[in-house]
């Protein structure tokens, strides 16, 4: 029983990482109805930037963390303006291909700059167990959860309390009406990409201390993030978080209790996606789209 609780707790922490990358996917999806396949590779690229800041510029982790978030935000905005905007109004498939192109481009550039040798990445939290009752909690896991919760709170405040956050929601839901109210809708979409890129960077910097840093590190995580986003409802911020945690727990349990489970985790992700799409396509928190005929 204790071991089960232990697994659930570590699942929740990993789930927090899936949730933050899922959140990045949701932010882009809400802005322009497209799944950004490059989200994971962009996060990897950001994580390498923080690695360079820490290792070569000798900046403290948390300062590097903040600088990386800002750089990633700018990067997201620039990518939207330069590479996505020209395809405004193009079919979704075209945009998907563009994000696939971005995927390979980011992967290649990251490899070119930093190489393919696995690097160890020391995060912001010590890797120490804390004993709590009969349970062993990891400070690393607790730290991940804390960062994800703070990030969620900030995003919530941004979207509900600030003018820019409200305008972003309005622009993605009602672009035509928003233009009439004076909103520069194109820039709001770019802002969405910037935020997604920043949130993705956080997920990369949280996961790198747990696995090793290499140009392909986010690929499996991207699949779990997609699973989380689909499970929660691809348009729902809350859904991304709940979905991420649920997938995290599920994968921890599969990895522990099913023989060969470690290798089967990706397959389970696929099963979750298929089942959700068949049974409840809108996901747990998504709204079913009703079209008037």
């Amino acid at each position: 029983m204790l071991s089960l609780i232990q697994q659930v707790i570590s699942g929740i922490a990993t789930g927090g990482i899936y949730a933050s990358l899922a959140l990045a996917l949701v932010l882009v999806y809400r802005a322009m109805d497209v799944a950004n396949f490059a989200q994971g590779e962009m996060a990897t690229f950001s994580t390498f930037i923080s690695y360079s800041l820490i290792e070569y510029a000798h900046i403290d982790f948390w300062l590097a963390f903040v600088i990386t978030i800002l750089i990633s935000f700018g990067l997201g905005v620039v990518i939207e303006r330069a590479l996505i905007r020209p395809f405004e109004g193009a079919p979704v498939l075209t945009l998907l291909i563009v994000t696939l192109g971005l995927f390979t481009a980011f992967n290649g550039v990251t490899g070119l700059i930093w190489g393919y040798v696995f690097k160890s990445y020391r995060g912001g939290f010590p890797d120490q167990p804390i004993q709590f009752g009969g349970l062993y909690l990891n400070t690393q896991d607790l730290g991940v959860l804390g960062v994800v919760l703070v990030m969620l709170l900030l995003l919530y405040l941004f979207f509900t309390r600030t003018k820019a956050g409200l305008a972003m929601r309005a622009a993605s839901l009602y672009p035509d009406s928003s233009r009439l109210l004076g909103v520069r809708v194109g820039w709001m979409l770019a802002l969405g990409w910037g935020l997604a890129s920043a949130v993705g960077a956080v997920s990369g910097m949280l996961v790198a201390p747990i696995i090793f840093l290499d140009p392909n590190m986010m690929q499996a995580i991207l699949l779990f993030a997609f699973t989380a986003a689909v499970l929660g409802g691809i348009e729902s911020v809350l859904g991304a978080v709940v979905g991420g945690v649920a997938v995290g727990i599920l994968m921890a349990l599969v990895g522990t209790y099913i023989p060969g489970g470690q290798d089967l985790r990706l397959a389970f992700g696929l099963i979750v996606i298929v089942v959700v799409l068949l049974v409840r396509p809108a996901g747990l928190f998504g709204r079913a789209t009703v079209k008037r005929v």
């Binding site: 003018k163 929601r169 035509d176 928003s178 233009r179 009439l180 109210l181 004076g182 909103v183 520069r184």
Partner: protein, 235 residues
């Protein structure tokens, strides 16, 4: 000089031409009605002004040529367009709709503007946190006007505010439009199929027929005009 002037405006939706040279003027402080049958080009004329349709011709607002500006820049000049279908931000709350109305105002929605708008629509404070899509049609139309007023517009473009509403609600909405015009000195250009109520509120009116101004004059003149009466007023 007129606050808003259109001269020889042509507009098209793809291959289909909707306006064939519309010219009209709206004086500062006036309520002007734009009448006509379905498909005459009333909505397209408003969309030409707010730059949400492709068009040629000259449109000046307060002496500035606005024919080549983007919709958001036209809005920033103080032209509030309440579009066909009211443009309700349905998933957002009433208060969020009003905040979006004040988007172009420095500092966002102010208490002064909110209080002023609630003076016209006394039901708003009690429904502030209600999701806009759950309001009735009449309330959504009022919210659309309220949202436009949060911008403190100089010119208010209204597209068929009476559409789908009970006569008593229509009366109330036009009463408010007149009050807004008198108290806040907002110039109004209103598109209507309901010609009789529009002519009661407006001082001046234009009648569009197949993308052109067919008749224009003061409301009194149009009410007496035999052809207008038969075609649009039904008596």
């Amino acid at each position: 000089m007129a606050l808003l002037e259109l001269s020889d405006v042509h507009a098209r939706y793809g291959p289909i031409s909707a306006l064939h040279g519309v010219s009209l003027g709206v004086d500062e402080g006036a309520i002007v009605a734009l009448l006509g049958a379905n498909g005459a080009g009333k909505t397209t004329t408003l969309r030409a002004i707010s730059s949400t349709v492709r068009k040629t011709g000259e449109i000046t607002f307060d002496g500035h040529d606005i024919s080549r500006r983007a919709p958001e820049d036209v809005a920033r000049l103080g032209i509030a367009h309440v579009p066909e279908g009211r443009g309700t931000l349905g998933q957002l709350t009433v208060w969020e709709n009003l905040r979006m109305g004040a988007y172009v105002r420095r500092g966002g929605a102010s208490k002064v503007d909110y209080d002023r708008v609630c003076g016209y629509f006394s039901w708003i404070p009690a429904r502030r946190n209600q999701v806009a899509a759950t309001l009735s049609g009449g309330e959504q139309q009022m919210l659309a006007i309220a949202r436009a007023l949060m911008m403190r517009p100089r010119l208010l473009l209204l597209d068929e505010p009476s559409l789908g509403l009970a006569p008593i609600v229509v009366q109330e909405i036009f009463k408010i439009i007149r009050a807004v015009n008198e108290q806040d000195k907002v110039t109004v250009l209103v598109v209507e199929q309901n010609a009789s109520i529009a002519l009661q509120a407006a001082a001046h009116a234009y009648v569009l027929e197949v993308g052109k101004v067919a008749v224009s004059g003061t409301s009194a003149e149009l009410q007496k005009d035999e052809a207008v009466r038969r075609s649009y007023l039904g008596y």
